[in-house]
Symmetry: C2
Subunit: 516 residues, 2 copies
């Protein structure tokens, strides 16, 4: 057994069997090892940003990490933006990055770079293997580092750099120790903290819930607390994952713009953090604060995101002797008719999306579907967490591979979808049940909004050209078909409805260009 | 005047007028400044890897840097791979990266990251502006850092991070000082070093020429030296830029595989470095050395790449009293007929490419056109320098913007073209005279070759799936048309010839899918 095989076998021993890969010459022994271990599912992605975004989406759904397989510092670099998003989601992920043999690095061949330095801004754990015999142990350490709950703001990203000689030399597999599961369990919040919180929640309180507080168990308990105390329950604007549907209590999303959040908090006297954080402005603005909590609002921390927030909510509901949650389900709406707009897309999805679907969103309109779907259809919602566009399509690929029995929607602005359009090819190769909806407004709309917020009403031609995705218009139907994905264009609600209905009936990957 | 306007005006004062941009909210004041300064040419790219690759191609042609305009650490991250290639090309480039306002960084909003850490592996110079009043001076320093000849292996990349408050606060433009041109001139090699070199070059000598030694002036002088002494002249395998054509002496390229280089050096007793380096293996192999120069070969350095290599070659030719160079032009070949293959593409290009064209290549077949074109048509050749695929298309965009009167070919493997396929959109928007040739063999062919070099003849299905770009085949004609670029498919030499001829006659952007 060589070092590469010990890496793949050690991953398997720890339950990590899925690899989103774009290998190069320095990773050939790892490819050979993947070839030898049929339990490993290696998924080729045609750009590393798809690998890292897919691994994030996979682990958000599965709870155990996937690996990436990346080619030196440049390949890792291509994955950095979605690793940034992954870090903000605190998703466990193991990057396997090949490197030159240890003795070769000093010769500064063209692909040589400081891989640890590239990894540093996004990784909570980094190691470069030094021997092939140690590569298995390094791999076990990487998995434990990725999965261990931690307050490290760099989330659960472990980057293992494997020099070629550590792959081709003799290796040893490392099994999962008996203590592994205990080591990766989320810590429980103390009874004293719960009791103190129970005594202070009232109708002027907001609970800011994140982490596993947004699972079925967590939101159910939060709904019980709200029913008993009259408090309101919010998630952050872009939580990594939310379970929602008519059989679950409503979780509101914090709005995006600082003025909206400040207005919301005008009537809030207590903010209780259950996995969430104090709201801050997404960007800085000249005459607005960064911290959006007003002086009159007291802030109390009950649980950090890496702790067992769902259990804390359960314990809190018990301490309050709260009964079953209040539900406010809506009947499925009628599918709308007429010219297509964002509201029409959202309502159609609320009307047609199958129960237990998964929705991965990027920037650019998809978020509008959340309130409509939340009351109408049971689903799991995955957000763009770090603001770096191009995450939704890859995340949808990863989620579909993690949950092959659940249909997946990717709701994507055209700008963000273009960043990582190669996700379509992997959806086609893997024949994923994935419906990508591209909100095709042919502009970076948010930038025009933000530009106007500077007080500029007269947008010059040269500025407008930097927000404008027309000249030429992107033909999303052709772009999808070019990568093996069937596609249609919709300019009316009826066409959009027909496209969604046909895609779901047919199964497999589809794209709908929603022309706005 | 605010800080953003001072940045744009200071760039202009230093001759930097072209910006490859993908801005976000934190860059809105810079967009406003671009809008106000009509001499600045801002080019929108739909992915940051296109921005950085285009800025590299632009500056290789123009000699002065372009800027990028990137959105925080995540946007810079998306540009890292082509910055790696740019670093290996030692191209001057100024990254302008927006950041949150200084006071906002501490709140760790979703897009916050350690931008300096992201920049570090690729930047020779990094600064985060601290005041709007200082932003102009910071910009002037960035341009000088990018343009100053330097032995820094991180090339000429300067990264200026501009917090939003340094853009919106009051600013001051900085003019180009009288000393600027002298400060950025390449150093001259001393007469003693030239005299010593002149005394030792003989018929068993190889000159390894790089940097500005591969300009018309440099290769002409190298040809004189070869004619006088019988030495051979080589460039590295992947030099950043080479002038070539029938009116210039032949410059051989160092081959790629280590065995080929070792064979070449079997009969070489002296290696004289004129901007180039000792040849090393691109990758590490188990039973091959990293340094490929045999013990019997003496190595002498005459010039580093950052020095004036062309002048050193001139001086050397004078010291040797060498006469005009020997030329070995070929007549233009006949355009071949029959089924299309790499040789047919190369010969057709040698037959049809217009004089003074520019050729930007990526990985995957394009390199085969170099020897055929070198003897047949005057052109400038731009290589993928750092081995990170996805550079050729963006570099072609940048070259076409730098040289609007010269037709540009982008010779791209399908794997690499897919990485940064968004370059097509910018080619369409800017209506560039750009002919992209995609070598569509539907695989990462080099990986299969390298896998076999491990001694593996039986490639398993799971390994093969990681080299294979079929299932589904990418339809390059549709992918180009989707982005506004006219395109045809060629399966014979006649179809390829017709495609090239029509594209050149029509002008504007075109793609030819060369089906292999």
């Amino acid at each position: 057994m060589n070092g590469a095989l010990s890496v793949i076998r050690t991953l398997l021993a720890h339950g990590v069997d899925t690899c989103f890969a774009n290998p190069g010459t320095s990773e050939m022994h790892l490819v050979q090892a993947i070839d030898a271990v049929p339990e490993t599912h290696a998924v080729l992605c045609l750009f590393e940003g798809v690998c890292t975004g897919a691994a994030d989406g996979y682990a958000r759904m599965k709870g155990v990490p996937a690996t990436t397989l990346l080619h030196l510092g440049a390949g890792l670099g291509n994955g950095i933006a979605n690793l940034h998003n992954c870090r903000r989601a605190a998703t466990p992920l193991v990057n396997i990055v090949g490197d030159h043999a240890v003795h070769h690095v000093a010769y500064d061949a063209p692909l040589t770079s400081d891989i640890e330095a590239v990894a540093k801004p996004v990784s909570a754990w980094i190691r470069t293997s030094r021997t092939s015999e140690g590569a298995g142990l390094d791999t076990a350490d990487a998995v434990r580092a990725a999965m261990s709950p931690s307050p490290d703001p760099r989330g659960g990203i472990a980057t293992l750099i494997l020099p070629a000689d550590c792959a081709w030399g003799p290796g040893r597999t490392v099994g999962k120790p008996a203590s592994f599961d205990a080591a990766v369990a989320k810590p429980r919040v103390s009874a004293q903290v719960i009791a103190a919180a129970a005594s202070e929640i009232d109708a002027q309180t907001v609970l800011m819930v994140d982490g596993n507080g947004l699972t079925e168990r967590g939101v159910t308990a939060a709904g019980r607390i709200a029913g008993k105390t009259g408090c309101r329950v919010f998630s952050p604007t872009f939580p990594a994952r939310v379970e929602a549907g008519p059989d679950l209590p409503v979780v509101n999303r914090l709005p995006y713009f600082p003025e909206q959040i400040m207005e919301l908090f005008g009537s809030v006297s207590k903010l209780v953090l259950l996995g969430g954080e104090r709201p801050v402005s997404f960007f800085a603005y000249r005459n607005l604060p960064s911290d959006l909590v007003p002086d009159h609002c007291a802030v109390h921390r009950v649980a950090h995101r890496h702790e067992d927030v769902a259990l804390a909510l359960d314990d809190l509901a018990e301490a309050l002797d709260a009964s079953a949650p209040l539900l406010a389900p809506s009947p499925r709406p009628e599918a709308p008719k007429g010219p297509l707009n964002v509201r029409g897309i959202a309502t159609t999805l609320a009307a047609r999306a199958p129960d237990d679907c998964i929705v991965a969103v990027d920037s650019g309109g998809g978020g509008a579907a959340y309130p409509a779907m939340q009351r109408a259809v049971r689903h799991t919602w995955l957000n763009l967490t770090g603001g770096s566009i191009g995450q939704g399509g890859p995340a949808a690929v990863g989620a579909a591979i993690a949950c092959p029995d659940r249909p997946v929607f990717a709701l994507l602005g055209d700008g963000g979808a273009m960043y990582t359009n190669q996700f379509l090819w992997t959806a086609a190769r893997e024949q994923l049940d994935l419906v990508a909806v591209v909100f095709s407004n042919r502009q970076y709309n948010i930038l025009e909004v933000e530009y106007r917020r500077l007080g500029i009403n007269d947008i010059g031609e040269r500025a407008a050209s930097l927000f404008d995705l027309s000249r030429p218009d992107i033909d999303w139907v052709a772009l999808a078909q070019a990568q093996g994905v069937s596609a249609v264009k919709a300019t009316t609600c009826e066409e959009f409805d027909a496209g969604v209905t046909r895609a779901l009936a047919a199964g497999g990957p589809h794209l709908i260009e929603a022309v706005l």
